[in-house]
Symmetry: C2
């Protein structure tokens, strides 16, 4: 993973020239104003200051203090993170990166850090976009990143019960490759799939692109072991239980503030024999939402269901435009059918061939009756090909002086339209007020019986000369305020981290926060675990 | 509800004479040894001792101190509860029964009780079979039952999001009748359905007979408000969220020890247009389990799926025997096909007609390929007719000197056979050692991708003259020890209450208990809420 941006050079996706020109024009960005990241050597790092004795106490555990390790664990991958690290701000780098190879070593690290008052930041793939892995050391003698990627085994597969127990540091591709070699799949494909880990997914309540069908990671976790400064809590892997509150649900989503999640028992499924992805078009976002609601509530929802609003559809077409004859014909067809300026939908079905075909047919009936126009398998294939690539575009856009950020929420079907308007409106108003009117786009990508997710992307001309973060804060704050006012959740799958913590009181209430604090105090009385995240204040 | 047993006189189910003779013979019970319950007037009650001032402080709240109210809130409906109350032991009766009509009145009661150190036992239908509603007043100045059945409204129905917000004291039949009048259903039908409440279901993580299809109550709760002595916690109704640990899951299943659950937002569904229930037979329990696993994992499980083992099948046939020609022909058919002494299965499908038919066909293919023999709709109809009636038989059997109790667990598919053997073996060994060899029966009634529930019923000649409870404790203890040793959960849907609390450390570990205690301390620092339940010690 590039320390200054997304992914690896070899896989990077380039911004097409036509799209670049179009964006410049719409956002009012001049050519040549962007900034490239400085070189690794130019990143400014604080002096490392591990307390006396800690290094010796951890003699048996791999510990890195080199520049590359510290810089690559200083921040996550949100827009403000990228702005900071590209400008050479490495002030949040940990004093060291500790890389345990076992649960015992994790316990050793926590004990030593508790004793020496050093903050511990659990770190998987480091793809947090909410400030979840940035070491905050206020009041501590130092901070270490606890990098879990040496713990990357599949520990056990129970074929009969269709579960797999895995280490926390296993990356998406390795996890899937090893399961698929046994004819199984987890079916969890967040956009960060290639660079995120199983432990990170569980710690943040991740949702994948196919979660409408396979279920969110919280629905796939059957058991989990948590190593905390005061000891261990294990939520045993059970199919169901009525033995009191579900403590598993206290550990899932705990974002490293209670302890380190380290044996994850996950539900797996037989590898699908067939995958069918196709495109549809709706004349309006509202019509698409209403049809998605029916798909879900009538029990015929696809495994992947994505609906882009008018703005996202237009931008997607611009970005993928090749100017080919086939593309022109496609546009002409949409125009002819009255779908010009409409909304694109991707639906995907996975499983055994006869079931895929039946489900596709049932869904098509609902899509058509809701006003949908079938576009065939081509848009589906294109989406599948590029499904993990869009984060690379952020780096491209930053190079060109464009601010780009995403945020997400979920709400009930009856409130979804108002939530959509509120968040979009807040982003447009807050950024326009700064003289940088944005492009705001949205898609629905996760369906539930009672509601759906909304995922927003916004772009604007980047303010410069130190105003970059103020600009972001203004937009982010306005959007978050709008979300809670309109009854949405502050996050559908990005988690809380540092960025959403100020809205947690609106999310769970004052007594809800007290409950979280009580749990933290029980497992981490000195507060060394990922301080400043999830729980405000 | 009869204070000394199940249900109402008008609906009571009688034990057929042939079955009675058969049971006497098998269990070695003599005729005429049973005991009838004493009369209400003969129940021995402790003097009511509400602290000074409490009655005045609660002047606005309905408060009952009469004999009938106190006796009917003294215990739940487990075997030891019935043994005690029938013998006139009302020692656990509350000092008073408080019946609030609003959330505000609940808060008032909690504040007054906290101040005067009076224990509060939330009470819905009082059908707990694990000692969940018995007032335990050790160390308190008194105890009141907080009867919630005056709060019985449907507060809001959101048709678009398919959710309903309801009061906690709404009984099953009223809830369903009001939803069904709007073309909706919750689809939650525990055996106690007629006498249990929505709040009780949520507080105990209830599972209903159709939960394989509709989902357990924990999967149907989207939001809940909890009134605790220190304030309120509200888990907002959201389709999904990644905003940290799911506090909703801390409130669901909290069994009254954290506070009083009082606004429940539940997922509802369109009322099914068609219901099809039918019977199948398997030659062995093992074959049936294996086929149920395939049904679930291949995604074609029915909404109701029940498999009785050989013993339960035999007893069900004995109990329902009419001696008719049709019955004889049925038995001859089973014999002819090699299914004599086999296992009966009930499967039920609900929904729109075409879907019901397709699902039935798909399930039939799997059932047949697993060795199942179709028995048509007659057994399905018979099961539907009597689905809530069996608890009445306990009273009949107690009248005749027969001990009868049920207990349940769940485990993974790969461990299910061993769990079944372990629990059955423990019940047989413990009761045989006392000279009362039991009949032990079991069924599977809830399917999950990774495992299933096991529901045991056991009967034995009742020991007398004060040894009734020792006999029960010996069997119950042996079964619970066997469950935890074999990796099952201590309860699949009966909850923890007083009876399972000693096994909670095995269930969630020492640090898990600490987390529960920390949550309780936060919401109920004086420990007035349902003391002695759920959390041991």
């Amino acid at each position: 993973m590039r320390w200054w941006g997304w992914g690896e050079d070899a896989h990077a996706m380039r911004l097409p020239e036509a799209a670049e020109a179009r964006l410049r024009e719409e956002l009012g960005v001049q050519a040549g104003v962007g900034t490239r990241a400085l070189s690794l050597e130019d990143v400014r790092l604080p002096d490392a200051s591990l307390p006396d004795g800690l290094r010796e106490r951890l003699a048996g555990v791999e510990l890195r203090e080199d520049r590359e390790a510290r810089v690559s664990h200083a921040l996550g991958k949100s827009y403000p993170d990228l702005v900071r690290i590209r400008s050479g701000d490495g002030s949040s780098a940990p004093d060291a990166v500790v890389r345990p190879s076992s649960a015992e070593e994790i316990a050793e690290v926590l004990a030593a850090c508790q004793e020496t008052e050093v903050a511990v930041v659990p770190f998987g793939g480091g793809t947090s976009v909410v400030g979840g892995v940035e070491p905050l050391r206020d009041g501590f003698a130092g901070a270490v990143s606890l990098d879990l990627t040496r713990m990357d085994r599949i520990l056990e597969v129970d074929r009969e019960s269709l579960t797999a127990s895995v280490d926390p540091g296993l990356f998406g591709p390795a996890l899937e490759a090893r399961l698929q070699a046994r004819g199984l799949t987890l079916g969890h494909f967040p956009q960060s799939f290639e660079y995120s880990t199983a432990g990170g997914w569980v710690a943040t309540r991740s949702a994948g692109q196919a979660s409408t069908g396979y279920g969110r990671i919280d629905e796939l976790v059957e058991g989990v072991r948590c190593i905390a400064p005061t000891g261990e809590v294990t939520a045993r892997a059970l199919p169901a239980s009525a033995a009191g509150p579900a403590l598993r649900e206290l550990l899932v989503g705990s974002e490293g503030v209670l302890g380190v999640l380290c044996v994850l028992t996950l539900r797996v499924r037989p590898l699908p024999q067939e995958r069918r992805y196709e495109g549809w078009s709706f004349q309006s976002f509202e019509q698409g939402c209403e049809t998605f609601r029916r798909l879900e509530q009538e029990g015929v929802a696809p495994d992947v269901a994505r609906l882009s609003d008018e703005q996202e559809t237009r931008l997607t077409m611009t970005l993928s435009s090749s100017g080919s004859a086939a593309e022109r014909a496609g546009r002409a067809y949409l125009r002819l059918r009255g779908h010009e300026g409409g909304c694109i939908v991707i639906v995907g079905f996975e499983g055994v061939p006869e079931t895929v075909e039946r489900r596709r047919r049932e869904a098509a009936r609902v899509l058509r009756s809701g006003g949908g126009l079938a576009l065939g398998v081509r848009p589906g294939r294109a989406w599948l090909r590029n499904r993990f690539a869009t984060p690379y575009l952020r780096d491209e856009l930053l190079d060109r002086g464009v601010m780009i950020e995403t945020l997400e929420t979920a709400g009930t079907w009856s409130g979804l339209g108002a939530l959509y308007e509120a968040v979009g409106g807040a982003l447009r108003a807050s950024l326009s007020a700064r003289g940088t009117p944005p492009l705001v786009m949205c898609h629905v990508s996760h369906l539930y019986p009672s509601g759906a997710s909304l995922y927003f992307t916004f772009m604007a001309r980047q303010e410069r000369d130190g105003a970059e973060l103020d600009q972001w804060r203004a937009a982010k704050g306005a959007a978050c305020d709008a979300i809670v006012s309109a009854g949405g959740t502050i996050t559908h799958h990005h988690a809380v981290g540092r960025d959403h913590a100020p809205w947690m009181e609106a999310e769970v209430g004052e007594r809800g926060l007290d409950l979280l604090r009580a749990a933290k105090h029980e497992l981490d009385p000195r507060g060394i675990m990922n301080p400043g995240k999830l729980i405000p204040g």
